[in-house]
């Protein structure tokens, strides 16, 4: 609708995150940290990941994620820890669970329905072709 609404919102917190010195030295861990950060929602901003936000809370969470990575936690552990703190609202990629089943399954379902519809249309042609020989 109107992109400027987004602008008005982001005005409060110009979007750039990650202060110098925050990043981990180990490039593999840092890559994981960035990937994780992009999937975690900044709780005080609107629709920004903690990777994009420079809100203090987002910074805290970035530091937290990196600390857990250094401690050797897996991505799954870290996500679970964040959910424990802030609830599922903090995950930009909803977990596959009974209450998100519809969300994850619907695209496939629509695709299959469409495929079925197409198959029926095409099936009719095949039947017609066998019943009425070409002139």
């Amino acid at each position: 609708m109107a992109r400027w609404l987004l602008f008005c919102l982001l005005l409060a917190s110009p979007a750039y995150a990650l202060d110098p010195g925050e990043a981990l030295v180990d490039p593999v861990l840092e890559t994981r940290a960035r990937a994780l950060s992009q999937e975690l929602r900044c709780m005080v901003c609107q629709n920004q990941s903690i990777d994009d936000s420079d809100a203090p809370l987002a910074k805290d969470l970035r530091v937290f994620v990196r600390a857990r990575l250094l401690a050797g936690d897996s991505d799954v552990d870290i996500r679970a820890a964040v959910v424990e703190r802030y609830g599922e609202f903090a995950l930009f990629r909803p977990r596959i669970a009974p209450h998100t089943m519809v969300l994850w399954a619907m695209p496939l379902l629509i695709l299959l329905c469409g495929g079925f519809f197409a198959w029926r249309l095409v099936g009719k042609t095949a039947r017609q072709n066998t019943s009425t020989p070409p002139q």
């Binding site: 979007a15 110098p20 209450h99 042609t125």
Partner: protein, 642 residues
């Protein structure tokens, strides 16, 4: 005085729209010619009146008439003239006036340009009349742009600085011309449903209008994306924000509609689906307005989430959709059931296109409203963001792009793949070869890519080569005069350009997201910064004065490469009147990538600088432009034929 004139013009426009909506309905049976004549005149007069009101509000903004509430709240004397004018639609009331203006403009344009003057045309104008009534009433009763303040304030509150950008002049009008344009799809669907099954003739008459709407919406979304890219300060181009999704849904549905209308027109089948799609596309345009204006979304950003307005728009959305769906249900039996067709044919592939685009539309819709539904049901708060949409769209894109090039290459009715075998094998081979090349050269610097990314690169290239094949096939009959390009038929370029545009956009998205480089440093003057093989020097900072802001401006100098010796100037601006700040990134544009520099806050005696390299990012918007260009060629073809 001028404002009162504008207000009066709006009231009169409502009266005329009511006449346009009702009178022809009564006369349709007894005096069809009079009915059409009334509908046509009324749509001209309605447009003229709304234009007058729009001019009056613009006058208020240009003259900084702070006795007008909307000017007071959104303007300031010190603002440059272009933002005073563009500021007319930089707020809720003014933007709804623009919306109404475009509704009236489409109605008037249809009355002016329709080539066949019959009952169908009258019915299209009646529906447009009802739309005019609904939105004029909304404007006058909930969002009057001409409300006065007494006593008049001395100065205005100014326009949000982030909106003070040239893009504000074009982005909302383009977007609205797209949204509102799809009201024509709705009007045509209703006109078709209330008439007899004319063998898809309505689809032929509808196509130029939905093409127009689609071109505008494509450009509007692309410009919005580019605006966000350079303004928000780090170079993201799409955020899967509900507001963006609200524009993407009608675009996806509208794209499906363009293709299915083609089948309805040429092959007299898929008519029922096309009619439904036309109604849905407009309903999605309206629900975009509703979602943004009403405050139901958790990420409502800023102005105008007034529940009264939300309810009013919900009533408009509900009313028009309901009428559409009820008419659809009642009149559907009059339309012949779909004629079956061959799977390997152009219509077969267009059906596949519709299945994928419908799936994409539902995915965006579901992702946008799912958190609201769960919340309303008390099943917890969740977020659906970019990772979800990427996870669904990436695997969806692969079969979609794989099948897409076949459509235009196949004939209607019964296509044959055999004669295409060699050229298709060539395109596929090239796509694989180029993908391998890209992966080999890039993996040195960026590490390997996932299988999904490699596959996406390959299908994007396949799409590009497929579109080239399509163009070659279309131009084959004109082989002898290829150099006289102005004599080539416009129709030959439409689909190939639009499809190549999608390919180019995909390549841009893939490159920009996969190979983006970023560096964050606290820099002292004369410090060197290296990124993506480019060396820059931070020269220092100075303060400058703009027309209505002060700014800190950093200077960086290219030490190497093509731009060696040139300077770039990222800024941080402080707007006094609005008490706000913005970051103005310095972007060096090359076709192969953008260098994107932003100046941040102080860190001791140093300055935080953030520099990105966004490889091939311009391809994203270039792709959108190609799509719109393809659409324009199709439109030109159609207008010439009419």
């Amino acid at each position: 005085m001028i404002a009162e004139l504008g207000h009066f013009a709006l009231v009169m426009a409502l009266v005329v729209a009511t006449l346009q909506a009702i009178a022809p309905l009564y006369l349709a049976r007894t005096a069809p010619d009079t009915a059409l004549a009334i509908a046509m005149r009324a749509s001209f007069i309605q447009f003229a009146l709304v234009l007058l009101a729009f001019a009056a509000l613009t006058y208020g903004f240009v003259r900084s008439d702070f006795s007008l509430a909307v000017v007071f709240a959104n303007s300031h004397i010190a603002k440059p003239l272009i933002y005073k004018i563009a500021g007319v639609w930089g707020n809720h009331e003014g933007s709804m006036l623009l919306w109404v203006l475009i509704v009236a403009a489409y109605g008037a344009a249809y009355a002016r340009f329709t080539d066949i003057k019959d009952g169908f045309a009258a019915r299209v104008l009646i529906v447009q009349g009802w739309l005019g009534v609904a939105f004029l009433a909304f404007l006058l009763f909930t969002s009057n742009p001409f409300a006065r303040l007494l006593p008049a304030p001395f100065s205005g509150q100014g326009l949000t600085p982030i909106l003070q950008d040239p893009a504000l002049a074009a982005h909302p009008p383009l977007l609205y011309a797209g949204y509102v344009g799809f009201s024509m799809a709705y009007a045509f669907a209703l006109a078709a449903l209330t008439g007899a099954d004319d063998g898809g003739n309505w689809a032929r008459r509808m196509r130029p209008w939905i093409l127009t709407a689609w071109i505008f919406l494509t450009l509007g979304i692309a410009l919005g994306s580019y605006w966000a890219y350079y303004e928000l300060g780090w170079g993201g181009f799409w955020f899967w924000d509900p507001v963006e999704n609200a524009s993407l849904m009608p675009w996806l549905a509208g794209t499906a509609l363009l293709h299915s209308a083609l089948v309805a027109e040429k092959r007299d089948t898929l008519k029922r689906w096309t009619l439904l799609l036309a109604i849905i596309t407009f309903a999605l345009s309206l629900s975009g307005t509703f979602l943004v204006r009403s405050g139901v979304l958790t990420s409502v950003h800023a102005f105008a989430n007034d529940p009264e307005r939300g309810l009013f728009i919900l009533a408009i959305l509900g009313g028009f959709s309901l009428v559409g769906f009820i008419l659809y249900g009642l009149r559907l039996p009059r339309f012949a059931a779909d004629k079956p067709f061959q799977p390997v044919s152009r219509e077969g592939l267009l059906l596949v296109n519709n299945i994928f685009l419908a799936t994409a539309t539902v995915t965006v819709f579901l992702g946008t409203i799912y958190p609201l539904i769960l919340d309303a049901l008390g099943m917890g708060k969740i977020s659906v963001g970019a990772p979800y949409f990427n996870a669904v769209f990436a695997p969806l894109t692969i079969p979609f792009a794989l099948l897409l090039p076949l459509g235009p290459l196949l004939n209607w009715r019964e296509g044959r793949l055999k004669p295409l075998q060699n050229s298709l094998a060539l395109a596929a081979g090239l796509a694989v070869l180029v993908t391998c090349g890209i992966m080999l050269t890039r993996s040195v610097a960026h590490g390997g890519s996932s299988l999904m990314i490699i596959a996406l690169f390959a299908v994007a290239l396949w799409l590009l080569f497929g579109a080239s094949l399509d163009l070659a096939q279309r131009l084959a009959p004109y082989r002898s005069r290829l150099t006289q390009f102005w004599r080539l038929p416009a129709s030959a370029f439409s689909a190939p350009l639009a499809h190549a545009g999608l390919a180019v956009m995909l390549l841009g998205i893939l490159a920009a997201t996969q190979w983006r480089e970023e560096i964050v440093v606290a820099a002292a003057p004369n410090q060197q910064i290296d990124i993506a093989g480019i060396a820059l020097r931070y020269d220092g900072l100075r303060e400058i004065d703009g027309p209505n802001y002060r700014a800190e401006q950093a200077r960086l100098t290219y030490l190497t490469g093509r731009h060696q010796g040139t300077h770039i100037f990222p800024e941080r601006r402080f707007y006094e009147a609005e008490r706000a700040q913005t970051t103005e990134a310095a972007i060096t544009t090359d076709l192969t990538g953008h260098l994107y520099a932003v100046v941040g806050e102080t860190s001791g005696d140093k300055r935080v600088l953030r520099v990105w390299y966004h490889p091939y990012v311009a391809f994203i918007w270039l792709g959108a432009l190609l799509m719109a260009l393809g659409g324009s060629f199709a439109l030109v073809t159609r207008l010439k034929r009419a």
